[in-house]
Structure formats: C-alpha cells, structure tokens
Symmetry: C2
Subunit: 212 residues, 2 copies
C-alpha cells in the first residue's frame, strides 16, 4: 500500500474510523455494512467505500466490512502497533490533564515522563508518571529516546521548547500551545497542532449561521 497517495482529508478521518470500529469491536460486532458505518459517523456510504478503498478491498459486496480486520488494519496504518513512546513538556494544568486523564496506552503510546521547571512539581508522580526537571530532559532522552513530545508549556517559551525537543531527537511534536512553531528550525520533526482557538472559532461560525 502506497501511503503517499492517501489524501490528508482521508488521514484525518482514519482516527474516527478507528474509534468507531473499536467501539463496535468492543461491543462484539463482527461485521458492519458501509451504510451502517456511514450512519454512525455522519458520512455517506459511498464516502466510506471510497476512503477505505485507499487501503485495499476490505469490503465485500453484500457482506460489508469485517470489524476486527478493518480495525486492526487501520490501527496498523496509524502506527498504533509500533510501541511509540511519548513525554510531556510542561506539567501545568494542561500537562496534568494529559498525565491524569489521557489514555496514551489505548492509542499505542507509552508515556515515559513529564518535565517542568516548577519545584513544587518536580519529583512528584502524576497518573503514574514521574515529573522531572527540564534540565534533566536531554540526558533522559539520550538514555531513553521518545518518539513524541507533547508541548504544554506557556506560549512565550513554546518555540524554544520545541527546538529543545527537536534537538533531543523526537520525531513528532504534539503542540498544545496555540503558537505556530518554527517548523523550518525543527529538523524535519512533524508538528501536530491542537488549536483550541480554531476549534472555538469554527463553533462560533456554526452558531452564527442563519437557519437554512
């Protein structure tokens, strides 16, 4: 399968497919038709067939999709079976929310450590994960490289923190800072932004629409 042919819109839908198929799998469902999956997800059946055809023919006319097989295949495509590791940079409110509430493991990641500069946090353990001083990060990651660094620091140190993560060899930065990171200075590290503001503004747009 040639990944470079998959459009970014399809890639963005894959995690949703995974979540839905995982729910079906957990509920013991064995197969699902494209029309039923479409209804669940608010898409059209033809959209679903088209998306999933990018990954080979998992559907069979008159049978639909094998839930377990499709779930597994999508997990594979998403890299969920590669034992990725993650660390969190910044253990303020947001970092703590990730530490205590985000199920990294369910998505194939092992959360190894968090780093902060606040003496009240350094040395403590949250959600089973230890918080180290930022000064220890380079040594820690040299001994135990991480694939992804979640960036949950204040905006004014976001760019320099991203450069530090890149220098420490992470492959991806999960950026919660609402700051556009200087990707050209990050040595090919992938940046994935969670832009709270963009999401709120989209909601603002939708509630502003005149009734059709």
């Amino acid at each position: 399968m040639r990944k470079d042919k998959i459009s970014s819109a399809v890639i963005r839908r894959l995690p949703r497919y995974y979540r839905h198929l995982d729910g079906l799998y957990m509920a013991g469902e064995v197969r699902i038709s494209s029309s039923a999956l479409a209804a669940d997800m608010g898409l059209t059946a033809s959209q679903i067939r088209q998306d999933l055809s990018c990954f080979g023919g998992f559907g069979q006319q008159g049978y639909g999709y094998n839930v377990e097989r499709l779930r597994h295949e999508i997990a594979d495509i998403l890299g969920m079976n590669r034992n990725y590791t993650a660390i969190i940079l910044g253990a303020g409110h947001l970092g703590q929310a990730l530490l205590e509430n985000f199920p990294f493991q369910r998505y194939g990641f092992r959360l190894e450590a968090a780093f902060d500069v606040d003496p009240a946090l350094v040395g403590s353990t949250l959600g089973g994960v230890r918080i180290y001083h930022l000064d220890e990060m380079a040594d820690f990651l040299r001994a135990s490289p991480a694939d992804v660094g979640a960036l949950a620091v204040p905006g004014n140190v976001a760019a320099q923190s991203a450069r530090q993560l890149a220098k420490c060899g992470v492959k991806g930065i999960w950026n919660f800072t609402n700051v556009e990171l200087p990707e050209q200075e990050l040595d090919g590290v992938r940046v994935e932004n969670i832009h709270f503001a963009d999401s709120l503004l989209a909601l603002s747009y939708f509630i502003s629409e005149e009734p059709l």
Copy 2:
C-alpha cells in the same frame, strides 16, 4: 453572502486565516499578496484566492489583500463581533487550563462562569472567573444565558452534562471529553469536538510514514 455555500474545509481554514491576518495586522502590515499569505500558511496562492473568493472579491490583481479589511471581514464571518458568552462545565485540570490560559476575549467571547461539584473549587475564582456549584447552573443560565458551554467534565458524565447544557439553552457545546455526544438528544445544539486522540493518531500516522 450565502454562508450555506461555503464548504466545511474552507470553514475550517477560516480561523487560520484570521490568526495569520491578525498577526500581520498587529505587526502593522497594510497589505499582503496571495502568494505571500500562501507561503506563510503552507498553502498555494491559488488555494487562497479560491477560498477567499467565497467571501467576495477582497483581492485586487497586482495589489493583493488589504490586511485590515480582510481580517475584519473574516472576524465577522466567524461571528467574532457578536458578543458571544461562554461558560465552562468542569473545573478540573483542563477546565482550569481554559480558565487561566485561554484568551476567550481575543476570539470574541466573554467567559462568564465555571461550574463544578468539587467543594474545594466551588466559590473560588480562577483567571478572574468565579466557579459555582453545578446545582446553580440552571438558575445562573436562566438569568444570564450563555451561547457556548465548554464541556470539560469526566467522560462518564459527559452525555448527561451535555443534555443539561442543551436544556439550559446554549447554542453550542465545545466538547473536550473525547466522548461522542448524543447530538440527536441535544435539541439542535451544535457540537464542536476537540478530539485529542484523533490528533495524536494523526501525528502517529505522520511519523510512521516512510521517507518519500
């Protein structure tokens, strides 16, 4: 301008346009060409011209876009000048991150209150906003309706909390819970999801790609 003709992909790009134009405006820039804006945003010039043509002809051949005018127009389209109000339901780590760090005002929202059940939080003030007991929410919103409710409660109470918000008359729910809300039970309330998991899985996909 007929909003119902704007595709969802364009709508999703509008907040990014706004952020970039706001940055240019703050930096004192008066005009920008579609190619310069494209380079800033990692899009193509023709994509930009096509997107912005949805909103009437702001660009002029050989001149580009008037930064202030386009910024203002996009803000209008996004509903940023409608004095929207918001409340936060759930003042745990994530709710506190929103209370203390998210600049609602910059995006046209006035954050009025937060609600929680934790006695240690109720009655306190964070980021200048008071935290009330959840039991006070219905009365509060009857006296002072809110347009948007940010949902930052534990997953196991997400659906019932969303129904409460809908009953209290919010127009939109900003959902941080990673739970798919029962939209059909929410009386036409718009739901905007921030799915941390989908974002992490997209990053997982990107770092898994073979080099081209």
